[in-house]
């Protein structure tokens, strides 16, 4: 009897402990459908060579691959994607890529099983990305030649060799680097392809309902393995309250948030919600139009800069949401970005000194301060709020900056007509070469340059030099662009930024973090630190929903 009860006790104990270990393993939910909601009214374009909005880039990131990719989650360096390996020729002008075998395109009418990707598709896709009438990113591919050597090998030849950093960004899984299906476009036409993307990624396009959602289904043939998620639904929800409430009820599992710490606090308190904030997000920089009074005087510009307290602006926008920056281009960890220490060492860190600001203004001939009107966009977290913070700060030094708020599209067109003497601009560019060229090369000067772009300060142009000394970094930019050694390239880029800051053409202010609240039972499948490709948490074959 005692033996029996002992055995029963032992077996109960055994079952109990088995159950315990089983629950320690991860249990997946029955329904593996992830719904992600973005701040957008609708999809603008499902063509990867045209897509420019956050929601479209995030959607297409799940559908397409590139030759190489930025490692998911931290995005530093590159790793193989559709290409298994690559080699640079001895003369440094030709890269040859060996393609992975057994990569299948998603099914489409006429090809219910899809078909294997070969070099033909890669060359077709890259040529399409290089043509101005089919691609918004055609400028990136100037001077490149594409050739299919054999079905699994392609060669890309550069007219003039560029560094690996710059080259790889053109063939990575982003914008023009996304590889599209040649057969799909040729058999169904470009118009069809605009609304039916066909790629090689972990998820394939299933349906699109205007203003509502795009549904993606899992691609069981994905070369990295069948995705755990069965379906991903991308919803277009432009109203933040709706997104919030949808997250609360569980209708939405991941939502695009608002970059405001009060809002983040509120949402973190919802049941089963965790908030993911990650970088690098757009850098926000203030540009002075150096060709106009009073900003043609470097002392006035310096005065403005000294009146700014970056930490205060960051705190106003939300600690944990905004971070001060000191680089005249992208912020660290972008290769070549200037750090605070470097800026300080070079003596170009101007901030937090109201007395000095007043003194400089007086020296420049404005003892009673200055007054002007600046135009800014209605977008709260990237334009209006920081401008309000800056307005209050510089007022203390006697600088009366009136702020006129206009809608976003008008803002973008007005600043390109020199309508505002200072321009606060939030943006991101894939590397320092692009940033420096578009914002500081004299050719890019707004209205007056050879090919006007976003050089709002007119840096390097004759009209910006007249009021005082001011440099020109055109030669430096071009030298850096063709520098093949990455360390030397970074050094040149830093030199360029220091030159710009010495002339106080701009005041780098802050950069923000993206905020994406999601349900605690959503497991991304990788640690998320940076996501600049999509401005959102990327979803891949390992993302899954835990039991809840």
């Amino acid at each position: 009897m005692r033996m029996w009860s002992g055995m029963v006790f032992l077996s109960v104990l055994a079952i109990f402990s088995l159950g315990f270990t089983a629950s320690a393993q991860e249990k997946l939910a029955d329904k593996q459908v992830l719904t992600v909601a973005f701040d957008a009214g609708d999809a603008q374009s499902l063509d990867p060579h045209r897509a420019a909005t956050t929601v479209d880039r995030s959607t297409l990131d799940m559908i397409f691959n590139g030759l190489v990719r930025y490692p998911i989650g931290n995005q530093v360096g590159i790793e193989p994607d559709l290409a298994e390996s690559w080699k640079l020729s001895a003369d440094g002008k030709t890269y040859s890529f060996n393609l992975r075998k057994g990569v299948f395109f998603h099914p489409f009418p006429g090809n219910p099983e899809g078909y294997e990707l070969t070099s033909e598709d890669v060359v077709f896709s890259l040529k399409r990305a290089a043509a101005a009438d089919t691609s918004a990113y055609a400028g990136e591919y100037r001077g490149l030649d594409f050739k299919a050597v054999d079905p699994y090998k392609i060669e890309i030849t550069m007219e003039k060799p560029i560094s690996e950093t710059l080259f790889m960004s053109k063939v990575a899984n982003y914008a023009g680097g996304f590889i599209v299906s040649k057969k799909a476009i040729e058999s169904q036409g470009t118009d069809w392809f605009k609304t039916h993307p066909v790629g090689t990624g972990p998820f394939k396009f299933e349906s699109y309902e205007p203003q509502q959602k795009t549904v993606l289904a899992q691609n069981p043939k994905y070369f990295r393995g069948k995705p755990i998620l069965e379906q991903v639904v991308v919803r277009y929800v432009p109203n933040v309250s709706s997104r919030e409430l949808g997250l609360r009820t569980g209708e939405l599992q991941v939502i695009e948030g608002v970059k405001e710490d009060k809002w983040v606090e509120k949402v973190s308190a919802f049941p089963e919600v965790k908030v993911k904030s990650f970088g690098p997000c757009e850098v926000q920089t203030l540009f002075f139009n150096m060709s106009l009074k009073p900003f043609d005087d470097v002392r006035v510009r310096k005065a403005f800069s000294y009146a700014v307290s970056r930490d205060e602006v960051a705190a106003f926008m939300g600690k944990g949401i905004a971070v001060p920056i000191y680089a005249a281009a992208l912020a660290p960890p972008a290769p070549g970005a200037l750090t605070r220490e470097e800026a300080q060492a070079a003596g170009v860190l101007y901030e937090n000194d109201i007395a000095k600001a007043k003194q400089l203004l007086a020296e420049a001939g404005y003892p009673n301060g200055i007054q002007f009107e600046a135009i800014t966009s209605e977008l709260d977290s990237s334009y209006r709020k920081p401008m309000i913070a800056l307005q209050a700060q510089v007022k203390k030094a006697g600088i009366d900056m009136q702020v006129k708020v206009v809608d976003h599209a008008s803002f973008h067109s007005l600043i390109r007509k020199d309508a505002s003497p200072v321009v606060y601009y939030a943006c991101w560019r894939p590397n320092l070469d692009v940033f420096l060229t578009r914002f500081y090369h004299s050719d890019s000067s707004v209205m007056t340059g050879k090919s006007p772009d976003t050089n709002f300060s007119h840096y390097g142009t004759p009209e910006a030099v007249k009021g005082g000394q001011s440099g020109n970094i055109d030669a430096l930019i071009e030298q850096a662009r063709w520098e093949l050694n990455p360390e030397k390239q970074n050094e040149l880029w830093k030199k360029a930024q220091i030159a710009v800051l010495k002339d106080v053409a701009v005041v780098p202010v802050v950069r923000q973090l993206y905020v994406f609240p999601m349900k605690t039972y959503v497991e991304l499948g990788y640690p998320l630190e940076f996501s600049w490709q999509t401005y959102s948490p990327q979803i891949n074959e390992k993302t899954r929903i835990l039991a809840h």
Binding site: G41, A52, D191, S241, D407, A409, S413
Partner: protein, 313 residues
Amino acid sequence: MFSYVIRRILQSIPILFVVITLVFVIVRVLPGDPAVAALGDYASKEAVEALREKMGLHAPLWLQYLHFLGNICQGDLGASAITGYPVGAQVLKVLPHTLELTFFGIFLGYFLGIPPGILSAIKRNTFIDYFCRIFSLLGLSVPAFYLGILLILLLSVQFPLFPVVGAGDFSNPADNFRHLFLPGLTLGLLMTAYITRMTRSSILNIIREDYVRTAYAKGLLDRVVLFKHVLRNAMIPIVALGGLYAVVLIGSSVMVEIVFSRPGLGKLMVGAIKQRDYVTFQSVMVIYAIMVVLLNLLIDLIYSMIDPRIKYR
């Protein structure tokens, strides 16, 4: 009657023409480049120029205008300047959602608005009357989006009865109705406030009439007098003015569509303005103008049906 309808339709063509021209001019006067809006500020300059060429933005203004008029007359609403999707197809896809929302809102407006109005009128200056009047004043003052969010908090979050976002499938009527209820209720409550007040004042006017006094004098039951004589006559202005308010409701439906993330004409239009999508915006405005004209015509016809004193020739 038929000739009357035709005449009214023909009379509305000049109105539509003025609306279209105004819209065309206003959109082009606004600063903002649709090509930049379409491609994002990261795109290369060549791409932006290529798109402007494709959109026909380099052509002189009068040529663009004639192009536009010509297309409208052929029933071609053009292709979106941003996405390239044909506008006609987009409108057809979202129009049913807007129509069902608007009509459900109007229906709820009458259904929920008339009984309190009657009650308020017959129990004039009592507590019920005051309560209904204050309630309807609140309804008139609350903006659509605020009311929508309140309803979501109550009926989706607090008591999970209805979904928060989306529109549901037409193929699944039950699911569709669940998605329609809250947005429809939001619009309906806005209209209820108006209808309640209208009903009350209309009935009070009628009750003072001689023939009503005669009916009471004849010894008819209160209930009979009310429903057979008073209400029928009171309905006329309620229907007419309510119908006019329905036009206002179309405007409020834009806010409701945004709060509930419902696809609809309003959301399409707001998106088009933000992106300077001239083509979509113009075409949607034309649709709206036609809707308003037809709605007014419908109201007038209903009016003539319920009031035998009115004849159209």
